[in-house]
């Protein structure tokens, strides 16, 4: 038989657990640590794998706009300056910088994105696919391109791939699919970087998480498949 104090402790623990569960649901925190949602390696998701491959091949031309370059395409000059000078910032400052900097790129939806090879030469056109950082900075993009651009830029600033995911969500208010960048900071805080300049730090309400990926893996958050 439990003593009076033991019952009190058990009841308190139950109440705390119940409150934490309800609070978590209310905050709708993005389930960054969700091993049960792991789907497959990133290379199996063809459109994303293609974007990763193109990004790697374009990295040289991405950084080709140096101090002495007379004319640079799109926002490459400012990008190079940001990456060079932001290396010494704190992680949180880097995140804020990248979020605002990328969000200042003009939005462009349903626009066939030009594809470029490693030398910056146009090789084709993308429709409704994932743009690379180079393609975004030179040719704009829509919401998933903002998220992937932030991902690639933060990688250049030293943020680890395993601490970031490009997350596709269903937004009830927008009645459509939207993409954000999820970032896991030291200490476990999960931030969602939005294209409207907000960074959701605690309250992630309004999202229905669909799937996510980084350069290593793909996660499927749907539970009614």
């Amino acid at each position: 038989m439990m003593s009076g104090h033991s019952w009190l402790h058990a009841t308190a623990a139950l109440c705390v657990g119940l409150f934490a569960t309800l609070a978590h649901g209310a905050y709708n925190q993005y389930p960054f640590e969700a091993p049960q949602d792991y789907l497959t390696v990133a290379t199996d998701f063809t459109p994303w794998a293609d974007a990763l491959s193109r990004h790697e091949s374009q990295r040289a031309v991405l950084f080709s706009c140096t101090e002495g370059t007379k004319k640079c395409r799109g926002r490459l000059r400012s990008f190079n300056r940001m990456v060079t000078k932001a290396q010494g910032l704190s992680v949180q400052e880097k995140v804020h910088l990248v979020n605002i900097y990328i969000n200042r790129t003009n939005y462009d939806t349903d626009h066939p994105k030009r594809l470029y090879d490693k030398d910056g030469k146009k090789i084709g056109v993308l429709r409704n696919q994932w743009a690379t950082l180079y393609e975004f900075l030179t040719d704009r993009g829509d919401c998933e391109d903002y998220a992937t651009a932030k991902y690639f830029m933060l990688r250049e600033l030293g943020v680890r791939a395993r601490d970031m995911k490009v997350v596709v969500t269903y937004e009830r208010k927008l009645r459509g699919y939207h993409a954000v960048l999820a970032l896991r900071l030291d200490g476990g805080a999960i931030w969602l970087l939005e294209s409207d300049n907000q960074i959701r730090k605690k309250y992630h309400g309004g999202y229905r998480y669909v799937y996510a990926m980084n350069e290593h893996s793909v996660w499927d958050h749907r539970d009614d498949y």
Partner: protein, 80 residues
């Protein structure tokens, strides 16, 4: 007895870490179906930009520098 247990454990560890891949790993059918359904999702919902929040001096300085550089390149006549 100890030797027998050690040998059994060694075999178990070897089996656990053995690279038994004699063929290329391919996604299972269910994974392929899920990937295919993911590919059909059209991610286009746009959000209207809200006001930027004030940042640290270092961040604000870099953003101002970026804005100036973007203005310079956009103002230059095209070389094509």
């Amino acid at each position: 007895m100890k030797r027998l247990v050690t040998i059994i454990c060694a075999f178990a560890c070897a089996a656990a870490f053995a690279d038994g891949t004699s063929s290329v790993a391919v996604p299972s059918l269910k994974v392929k179906e899920r990937l295919h359904s993911i590919e059909q999702i059209n991610v286009t919902a746009e959000k209207k930009a809200k006001a930027e929040q004030p940042q640290s001096e270092a961040v604000e300085a870099l953003l101002a520098e970026a804005e100036k550089l973007d203005g310079q390149d956009n103002a230059q006549p095209s070389s094509h």
